[in-house]
Each structure stands twice: as C-alpha cells, then as structure tokens.
Symmetry: C2
Subunit: 507 residues, 2 copies
C-alpha cells in the first residue's frame, strides 16, 4: 500500500476550496485581516508580490506613453453626484468623512468635531476628482491625448470581505485618458486591455479570456467595459481588471472640453482602466496547490532559496564556503533582464521545516546543500512546479549554465497547466438542461465545485441574463472579443442568437 | 547701460519669496491646488520627482534590511486613544469617517447613512494601527528586529495649506521597527537619520544639520526625536524628516511583548521614521532661482533635453538624422549606474519658448542643434547651473565623452552652492541684542527675509524656548549631534549653558 502523501495545507482544495484559499495566504504569510473590519494588512511577502506587479505594469504603461500623477483621496460629495449612473453604482459602499477633528467628549473619550459643510467621500474610483483637474488641463487639441495613470488606495465598503478578493480598502492603479476623437479613445481602451492581458499571461502566467461586459455588468457611467476573465481552480471566473470606454459621459459631467483644429469647442472622449491587489488573489487560486502558493518566476520576490545542511561547525564552514562560491556566480546570471534573486536561509531551524516554509511560500527553486554535495560539486534541486519530494542532484556547472532556462521552463509549465485547465473546463453547451446540469455541484460537501465556463448562445436580452443569474448564480462574464458570428439559439429563451458568450459563476 | 536680464519667474525671490515659490511650481508644472481644500494634485513633473525619491530611498531602506508592507488607511478611534500624548498631538487635525454609505435625502441629493459605532480616523501616522499588527507578529526574541516600511498617503487637516509644504493629504514613507533592546532601537533611530542625511546630501544635493529635537518639538509619544534641518534661500529652516526613538511607549499602548532568551516576557522597543512629499518643497526652495526650478541630476526625471532648430523640411531632416546619431550613442552611456534620461523635444513650437519651458522645469542639460551644428559635428549646450543665456559649443565627441562627468559636476556645483549659503548664514551669536537684531527683517517689503540660523547657547528651559518663540517666531530647530561641550550663557536668560543649539524661523 502506497503511503498517501501528506499535504502542507489543510483543508485541501477538494475538501473546502474557500478554506484552502485562506490557509494558503496564512501559510505563505502574505496578508491578514486587520482590526478594522474589511481592511487587510498586506504582509511583506504579499507586498513584495504587489511591488513586482507594480514595477512591471508601470514599465508597460510608460512604454505606451503614460505618465503617473497623484490626485486627492477625497471627493466632495457634490462632485460625486455629477454623473448619475456613477453615483448610483457607488453610493451604497462609500466611506464618508463628516468631521475634521476630534474633541474631548467630557467623559474621558473623544468625539468628532469640526463638521464639514460639503461631506467628503473617500475615492472608490477617481473619475470625478480627476475629471475636475482634466477640465483645467485640457484646452486645445494640442493637449491631447492626455495619458495619465495613478497608483493609489481606494475604498469600497465591503460587507463580506475576503483577503485580496474583496476588501474595503485595496491598492490599485487607475488609468485616466482624454482623447480628441471617439476612435482614439476606443483604441486606447483596447490597447490597455491588451497590456493587461499580456501582463496576466506573460508575468502572472494566468491565461485569460478578453471580452466585453454586458449592459448590466459594465462600469457605472461607462459606454462599454472590456474585461479579462480568468478561471480559478474551483472553475469559477475571476475578473482580472477592466478597461472602460467612457464616451462623453464624464467629459460632460466634469466639463472637459477642447478647441479642435477648426477652432471649435467640443467635448473630449475619455477612458479609464484599472487592476488591483485582487490580481494576487487570482495568482493564488490559479496556481496554488495543496502544499501552498506557487509563484511564476517572473513575479516571484525570490527565485532561488538555498538551504545549507550540516551537523557541526566544521560542516557548516565547509558548506558555507561552497555556497558562497556558487552564489558569487549566480550573482552574475540574468533572468528576464534582471538579476536572479536568491537567498541563503541560514536560520537556526531544522532543515525540513525551512524547506516546507519555502514550498508554502511558492519559491520556484530550492537548493539543498550538504557536506557530501560539496565533495561531489553538486546540489540537490527541488522545483515548485514538481512534487515537493522530487529532488534531483545537479552538478554546479549544469546548475549555473541552466538556471535561467529552468526558470523559463517553470514559468511556461505553470502557464501551460493553467491554460489546459481552462480549456478542459470551458465547454460549448447548447441544451438548456445540460446548461443547468453543468452548473449544479456534483459534490454536496463542496457545493462550490461545478462544471466551469459555459460557452453558450445568448439572445442579448437582460431578462434572460437575469433569469440565469437568479436560478444558478451564474453571470455572463463577457462577450469574447474573438467570438465569431454563428447562428444559434439562446440558452435561456431559445430565441435566435448570433454569438456565444461566456457564462460562469464568479468571484 | 547693460540691459537687465529678464527673469522667467515673477515675483523674484527678493521681491516676494512665498510668491516666487508658488510661481516656480506653476511654471514647472509640478502641482496645483485641488478643488478639495488643502489637498494638492501632484502633476506628472512633480510626481516623477517623487518617484525618483521613492526609488532611491527604497533601495537604501532595503540595503539596511527593511521590507515593505501595507496597513489600513483607517484607524479605529478607540486605538487612536491608547497613547495619550499621541492622540493629543493629532486630535485637532484628523479626518473622521462616520458613515459607510450615502442615501437619497429626498431632496434630489444624497446624505450620509450607515452610521459607524466606532468612528474611523484617517491615519495621520500609523504607529497605533501598525502596533496592533506588531503585537501579533512579535512573540519571541527570534522575531526581532522587525524592520518594516510603508509607502502611503496620510491626512492631517491643514488650515493654511501650501503646495508640498503643508497639505491636508500628503504622500510619505513611514518606517516602523521593533527591537529586543533599548540600544538596538536607538541604533536604528540613528541609522535611519543617517540614511536620510545621505539621501538629502547625495541625491537632493541639500546640505543638512542633524540634531535632536527639544522636548516641546518632539513627536507626540516619542522619547526622543531626531531631525535633519535644511536652510532655504529665505534663510528659514525646513525640517526634512524625522527619526523617533519611541522607547516602550507604543509597545505598552499596543501590547508589543516578546519572550527573551531567558524565557521571560518583556515589552519591546520601537522606532519610527518618515519623510514626505515635503522634500520636494525643500528641493525647490534650496536650489531654485529666478528662472525656475533647478534639479540635481541624481533626482531629475530628465537629464538632457534636445531641441532641434530648423527652418524648413530639409533642415528638419538633416538635424533629425544628426540628433538620432547622437542619441543612439547617449543611449549607451550611464550616469549613477543608470541610463542617461534624455528627450528630444520635437513639438511644433518656437525654439525659444521650448528652451524656457525646460529651464523653468529645471532640466540639468539643454542641447540646441541646428543645421550649422550638423556641419561642424557639434552642439550648443546650456547647463541649468549656469546662466540661461550662457551656451557653449561642444564637439559631439567631447559631449559623449564628458556627459556623465558634466552631470556629476552639476550635481556637485548645486550642492556646494547650497552648502556655502548655509555656512554663510549660520552665525554664532552670543549677545541677546544681536540675536534679536539677527531675526529682525531688514526689508519691510519682504518681511520674511532675516539673518538665518543662529548657533547660540540655550540653558535647556522650555520657558526660554517659549519666550523666544513668542517674541520672534523663532524656534530651536535642533540640538546638533555634532555640538561639542562648551560653557556659555543662555541667549535668553543668561544662565549657564553647556551647548549651542540651532535657532531659526521655520516652515
């Protein structure tokens, strides 16, 4: 009888997916709930991942001509009220500042004082406050396009918070651009959707489906919203980020006008687009396994962890010198145009305990080095894309020669695995019964597990969309950009439809 | 009669220093007041400077063993009340969130709803909210030192806002560390003060005086506060940033305890330290002149701007090709371990207008290139540390050979000029009359201008400190770390004193 392999994370994904998610975050020491309900503390390991997301996205934004700026955290209530759909979309979840100081309450405590006449909303998104600046910055067609990005914190009051996925405060970037023509603005909207997609696939190793949101799922105030959707391992969809074509809606609300080449004044066309710390949730749920986090090398805070194994001072010195001779060479290797990030874990702890800590944290490559490895000029290598107990002896020469390509291989393996999973679980469904069955959980212990993404026909009516949402908690994630015209019947009402859309349960 | 040189900024520093400051920010397009009273919008040019400050400081923090993390924007009022001095210091200037949504007010508008039971304060600084996490993270001496930094926005309600210097919301970093011993915590406090000083002097080219704050000027809740103070061109002091030894005060308030090597539980020693977007204000006022901003190359978003000069299409092509051949080579040059940042300004505008724009923005080197320069294989170079009309012809070979060293020379010139100014205007004063005269403005039109820093004896009593503050609006900026023991008489009361301190008017 083969011994069953113990896993580092309890419960496993199969046993309880939401429970597994929480435990992975805890085991990798990425974040925790704070004492402020709904707000998270992003711990150093989680924040280092965010820093890498920021760094690489920022480069891509700048390469596409954008510059960063910073706008106020506060939005006067009166500004917020200017765009009707927008305010309706956010009014139910915004933090309101009503006072500007605290004073003695006469009972040994403090009470709010200095009441404000126009209350301030903490930005849930910045279209209206940035629009106020843009209306001053934009005067002539010569000022366009205006291509601005902001890295910031935003607040949307959250009743059912989940680390990284839904938190009252979260970190994000929001791009805001202004264009002279509708075509230019639409081009920008697609361009940034493509930047996001490239980042998700090439850096986060997350395959995504690009598409347009339906009327009921689009951003409050947008003309159209484009999204990239990823499949998590419980087969639910996660919206990775969105890019909005705002038409003239916010230009009219904020009075963003310019003089065109003919000297006539007209409203400008705007876009906005954003991704957030939610991407870290996507990263965890796309790649993680029952032993914890698995990090794609291109986004990992650490590529290689080196664990010295010794029993006494002599061995410690011997191993230590050997490791130093290796790292002296790793220091000069490059992966993805950057130095390879390595760490020697010399803490006074049992080797096995250390190993498992780094497995749970998702570090791509582990090297164990003991006295006998020194003698044979080799190391033991474990890879996070393989099983934890699978280790191979590698000569130091081979290691140094192949380290960058091994990291590439891991990156590709992880991506390919996620892509296969997405393809396997995205099914063309044409019958209503099979559609309903597809979304019915097979396992009563784990009601979250179901079929996956259904690629089915939809007639375009919001009534059908709503019925499916009510019946199954399934929504239209997007109308894929690569959907081709094909005559079919709506999965709900049976009326004629021209395109398939992606239906799924979602985060 | 020599023609008087016109300046780009009106008023000049001499005419109206605060007015000059505002106009430099406007002319360089760095920031503006927002519609939210007290809050600024940091425009791309200002934000690019902040990004360089962030990038370089972050490297220095990481080199000294710190890691980044992120904590909530909100602090529950009850947390905030835990440290008595601390709350007293910040209660008068904090934004209070009292509601979590907006609802229809029945009159076509919105009113706050969802009243909170424990109001939330927007962090003015994060000791108390970070302390809540630290009390969970720190259990054993093995967890120490804990060395965390956070890049964040903070809010301190400001009645008399000034761009970069005093704004209700500002951007900063705040380091928070925990140590097993008092000695370790004090060492950290000094270490970070030294990191700041090195950054100010080597990157911002701002000479500073390190010292300890007096009891009345220290951070609310600190045992001791260390500061680095710079002299602006109106001879007033600007506090660049602070590093606090917090003793056990916040450990007690937040219950941060650890088991020591002997297995006994004890309170931990904490520090905190921060610098903010205020440094940009210091940068402007230390180096700027009557033609605008002057940027030290090590912090400039752009090192070299290239302006093509031509009258027709043929010349445009000729000059364009020549410039391309030069930039192809600049691309491979390095300055301060980074690529040289250059830009070709090909906008359809008059050359002179462009030139002045870049002068006002403070770019270190301007190259003007016309058809005749192509023939002679040379360029016209203007340096921001020289007079605007001073241009020299340089052969392309010399330019390429010397560009990094010219940038170094500019960096050093700017620093040396500021250092000379600081030294010239820091005077040892021993008589009470001369002290009072020193701080009396000589020019009635510009009442801000006065003597500078007085290096004078102080008996140590807060009564003398207060009297001088009341009489002259002069405060003790710091007790310099390099002050030697010297018997003297207090500049205020005449009693015996053992040390000189720095007195100045301050921002």
């Amino acid at each position: 009888m083969a011994e069953q392999e113990k896993t580092a994370i309890t419960p496993t994904r199969e046993e309880n997916y939401p429970g597994w998610y929480q435990q992975v975050i805890k085991a990798a020491d990425m974040a925790e709930n704070s004492e402020v309900r709904g707000c998270m503390v992003i711990k150093p390991w989680g924040y280092a991942i965010w820093e890498n997301i920021q760094k690489n996205l920022d480069i891509m934004f700048k390469e596409t001509g954008h510059v960063n700026a910073y706008f106020p955290l506060f939005i006067p209530k009166s500004f917020f009220e200017k765009e009707a759909e927008h305010v309706e979309g956010f009014a139910k979840e915004c933090a309101v500042v009503t006072h500007s100081r605290l004073e003695d309450d006469g009972k040994g405590g403090l009470r709010p004082a200095g009441k404000l006449t126009d209350e301030l909303i903490i930005r849930p998104t910045s279209e209206t406050i940035i629009g106020a600046s843009f209306s001053k910055w934009v005067n002539s067609y010569r000022d366009l396009p205006l291509l601005i990005n902001q890295w910031a914190n935003v607040v949307r009051w959250e009743m059912r918070p989940r680390l990284f996925l839904r938190t009252t405060e979260f970190l994000w970037q929001e791009g805001h651009t202004v264009h002279a023509t509708k075509e230019d603005a639409i081009e920008e909207t697609y361009k940034m959707l493509n930047v996001y997609t490239r980042f998700a696939e090439e850096y986060l190793a997350i395959p995504v489906i690009q598409g347009e949101k339906t009327e009921s799922e689009k951003f409050p105030g947008a003309v159209s919203t484009y999204t990239f959707e990823a499949m998590m391992q419980d087969k639910k969809a996660l919206q990775g980020g969105t890019s909005h074509f705002l038409g003239l809606n916010f230009a009219k609300a904020s009075n963003i006008k310019f003089q065109n080449r003919e000297g006539k004044e007209e409203y400008a066309w705007t876009t906005s687009w954003g991704v957030s710390t939610r991407l870290i949730g996507a990263l965890i749920m796309t790649h993680g396994d029952d032993n914890g986090l698995i990090l794609p090398p291109r986004i990992a805070p650490l590529h290689v962890v080196i664990i010295p194994i010794y029993r006494n001072k002599d061995e410690q010195n011997k191993v230590g010198n050997f490791i130093e001779s290796i790292t002296e060479k790793i220091r000069h290797l490059k992966y993805n145009d950057e130095k390879i990030k390595f760490k020697i874990d010399g803490r006074d702890m049992r080797g096995g305990e250390k190993l498992w800590e780094w497995i749970k944290k998702g570090v791509p490559i582990r090297l164990e080095i003991g006295p006998r490895d020194v003698d044979s000029n080799s190391v033991f290598m474990g890879r996070r894309d393989k099983r934890p107990r699978e280790k191979v002896g590698v000569s130091v020469d081979d290691l140094l020669k192949n380290l960058p390509s091994i990291l590439d291989e891991i990156q590709n393996n992880i991506y390919q695995k996620a892509l296969n999973f997405q393809i396997e679980n995205t099914i063309k469904i044409d019958g209503k019964n099979s559609f309903y069955q597809f979304f019915t959980p097979k396992n009563k212990n784990n009601p979250e597990i179901h079929g996956g993404f259904a690629n089915s026909h939809w007639c375009g009516s919001s009534k059908c969309e709503e019925k499916i949402k009510d019946d199954l908690k399934v929504t239209i994630r997007c109308i894929p950009l690569d959907a081709y015209e094909e005559i079919g019947k709506c999965i709900c009402c049976g009326k004629e439809s021209k395109k398939r859309v992606i239906f799924a349960k979602a985060y």
